[in-house]
């Protein structure tokens, strides 16, 4: 669906006077488009009568919002307390090295994107990794190598 249609479909469900609709709107838009485009943010700002910079400021506060298109495989690594204790940082470094992208970015060929998330809510399963909609609990170094190899092969 085209960006304009997406935003126009979502906005009427919220009252422009209520500014607390901002975050749900952003979430819905991101769910539809995969990320927040400048045009979308502008449209939301016009609807809610909020400065675009304010909206960007709010969205940039949360890790859940992205401003770049996600890759074909969107890798999310949990960096909550438990996952951290179970070595999430080491995993993160390894993924960055293997996929040749930094956390928060998308590879130039749009094959992969990598994002750090605060908590996926499965601390008893730490460390947790999520690729698109699939969760990988209790990831071991071997698991990681396998997951990375698979997503690499699938996009080649």
């Amino acid at each position: 669906m085209h960006m304009e249609e997406i935003v126009e479909k979502i906005l009427p469900r919220y009252t422009p006077e209520k500014k607390d609709g901002l975050i749900p709107i952003l979430q819905e838009v991101q769910k539809e488009q995969g990320y927040l485009t400048e045009e979308a943010v502008e449209k939301i700002g016009k609807y809610l009568n909020l400065p675009v910079n304010k909206i960007y400021g709010v969205a940039a506060f949360y890790d859940q919002f992205r401003f770049r298109r996600a890759g074909h495989f969107h890798v999310q690594i949990c960096h909550g307390t438990t996952c951290h204790l179970f070595g999430a940082s080491t995993y993160l470094n390894e993924i960055e090295k293997q996929l040749k992208i930094k956390a928060g970015s998308t590879s130039r060929d749009r094959r992969f994107s990598l994002e750090i998330v605060n908590c996926l809510g499965a601390c008893n399963q730490a460390p947790v990794l999520k690729v698109n909609d699939t969760y990988y609990p209790m990831v071991t170094p071997d698991d990681l190598t396998r997951i990375i190899r698979t997503i690499k092969e699938k996009t080649e």
């Binding site: 400048e38 943010v41 502008e42 016009k46 400065p51 675009v52 910079n53 304010k54 960007y56 400021g57 940039a60 506060f61 949360y62 401003f67």
Partner: protein, 573 residues
């Protein structure tokens, strides 16, 4: 309710609801602060104002903590001093060590604080942030490396200007001040007013430097350099160099310009008189046909930019007159240049303004065919102070030079442009004359004077009444536009100055402008109005002369081409 509290062992009376900071301010105990802004609600972000209160384990920030009856406060105990010192050290940890080369060397609040707390070595280091200086904007430079995240700029931009061009981006130790999608000030709706520079404690926000081109032009023998200066500049120079008000400061400043090597110096008030003449004629025409009312004044480029960018439906309401700076530039590059026997390509026009937005304006407003500028360089009052120091001008030995060129003649109406309400007052005097062929009496409009944000007046002209309003601070202008849009008020003329209280508090003024200084600057301009012989623009002999010899009737076709501008209509989104 009054009660006693103890501050540093002394009994002090306090009121319920006051913050500790307010009590300390009143009794004259100074605690440092970086984020506190008088008149704004406190944020308690910088923690510099922490004090020790008996019975509370942690140190409390004085700016946001209310006083209570049982309080015993220590403001400079060893524990407090140690904590404060550490806080400053932590701020310095990520701050570049280039004070000697910094624009704010000597006026930096962080530097002062480090000196006050006697910090003599670097105890903490962090990884150098990889940040980019935003140099693309023609008025303002932003260097995030020097930012201490106090948030002053954001609050001024939000609450005073209502523009919100910048905001905190990110979270925790990654947070920084930035613009949408990191595209820089040029794409953020910034109106270039420079109020953020005035609010910034460090050199994270500075004006776009223009001094070097001026110095080069002065040293270029082929160029005929002419300077135009805003009347508010003279008052600020007097402040900076401690010149007595009794001296003839405008002429003293004029002498200083001559010593610097400028061939001619003009008070831009003369062009303000022209603005009045043209805008008055424009208003009379609109008032006659009842079209495009209220008329919005167009002397403030930040206001014009705000309308163009954010309220394009009101573009047609703006007066089409150029701002005084650009009118003066046009007059200099044509009329004055030819009467001085110069070619316009050899003339270099510098203007000194208490404004950063004028830098942007001069860059945009160019001649159609050659793309050459009418004003070649704009420097702020701050930069002029630097230039005076660089060139070693000593005000003690200077003697005021009598006005040597006819063009320095101006009416005091043109002088008033620097104060919010002033240009409206000047305009009304001429509008009154145009409509009744009589001078306004009394000539002062007291309703339009004083340090208020919104000043309304009802002026009787002949048998008709005009409702006028002068607003300062763009946030107040925004509220006014909303009122007009909703039909809650009906005005015929609206004057807007983007900066609070007008150009006397412009974004290019001296850094520590408090209310007392603003009042002095304001008084200096009103005093001139009291003493001046010519109080109305249409009585200025030079203006009459220019209209006879060079221009045609106010608001005529020829003048429209020359003194008016076409507004760029931003695409409505």
């Amino acid at each position: 309710m009054l009660f006693d509290i103890e501050i540093n062992g002394q009994q002090v009376s306090a009121k319920r609801g006051e913050t500790i900071m307010e009590v300390l301010d009143r009794v004259g105990v100074k605690v440092p602060t970086l984020c506190y802004m008088p008149g704004f609600s406190p944020t308690g972000g910088c923690r510099m104002c922490i004090v020790e209160v008996d019975g509370i384990d942690s140190l409390v920030p004085a700016c946001s903590h209310p006083v209570e009856e049982w309080m015993k406060i220590k403001t400079h105990s060893p524990r407090v001093l140690k904590a404060r010192k550490t806080l400053v050290e932590l701020l310095l940890a990520s701050h570049p060590d280039d004070c000697l080369y910094c624009d704010r060397n000597g006026t930096c609040e962080l530097q002062d604080l480090a000196a006050e707390l006697n910090i003599r070595e670097r105890n903490y280091r962090t990884k150098r942030q990889n940040v980019q200086v935003d140099r693309a904007c023609s008025s303002i430079e932003r260097n995030p490396a020097k930012c201490i995240l106090c948030g002053h700029c954001i609050r001024v931009c939000d609450e005073v200007m209502g523009v919100s061009a910048i905001d905190v981006i990110g979270r925790g130790s990654d947070s920084r001040i930035g613009t949408t999608y990191n595209k820089g000030l040029n794409f953020s709706g910034c109106v270039k007013c420079g109020q953020c520079i005035m609010a910034c404690p460090t050199a994270a926000l500075t004006e776009k430097p223009g001094l070097q081109t001026v110095i080069e032009a002065l040293n270029n023998p082929e160029l005929y350099t002419i300077i135009q200066f805003s009347p508010t500049v003279a008052a600020s120079i007097a402040e900076e160099f401690n010149l007595k008000a009794s001296k003839d400061i405008p002429n003293l400043v004029r002498t200083a310009f001559k010593d610097m090597g400028f061939r001619q110096a003009f008070d831009v008030s003369m062009a303000s008189d022209l603005v009045i003449m043209e805008a008055a004629a424009e208003f009379n025409e609109r008032f006659g046909s009842k079209e495009r009312l209220p008329l919005f004044t167009s002397s403030c480029p930040s206001w014009v930019k705000y309308i163009e960018d954010q309220r394009p439906r009101y573009i047609s309401h703006l007066s089409s007159t150029r701002s005084p700076q650009q009118m003066m530039g046009r007059i200099i590059k044509s009329y004055i240049t030819s009467s001085a026997g110069q070619k316009s390509e050899n003339v270099f026009v510098v203007s000194v303004m208490p404004c950063t937005s004028k830098k942007h304006e001069a860059e945009l407003d160019r001649q159609k065919e050659t793309k050459s500028k009418y004003v070649d360089a704009v420097i702020t009052t701050r930069e002029l102070v630097k230039l005076i120091k660089i060139l070693g001008i000593d005000f003690k030995t200077l003697e005021p030079e009598p006005t040597d060129t006819a063009f320095s003649m101006r009416s005091s109406a043109g002088m008033l442009f620097g104060i919010s309400g002033g240009s409206l007052e000047g305009l009304l005097r001429t509008v009154y004359f145009n409509m009744t062929s009589q001078e306004m009496s009394p000539i002062k409009i007291n309703d339009l004077r004083g340090l208020k944000n919104r000043k309304e007046a009802r002026v009787k002209i002949g048998k008709q009444f005009l409702n006028v309003v002068a607003v300062n601070g763009l946030a107040n202008a925004k509220a006014l536009l909303d009122d007009i849009e909703a039909g809650r008020c009906d005005y015929q003329i609206v004057e807007v100055m983007a900066c609070p209280f007008g150009c006397i508090n412009g974004g290019g003024q001296l850094i520590d402008s408090d209310e007392k200084k603003l009042k002095t600057r304001m008084k200096a301009l009103y005093d001139v109005d009291d003493e001046e012989m010519i109080k109305v623009a249409h009585k200025n002999p030079i203006i009459t002369d220019i209209y006879e010899k060079f221009l045609s009737k106010p608001n005529s076709e020829r003048n429209r081409q020359f003194l008016h501008t076409e507004r760029i209509k931003a695409e409505e989104t």
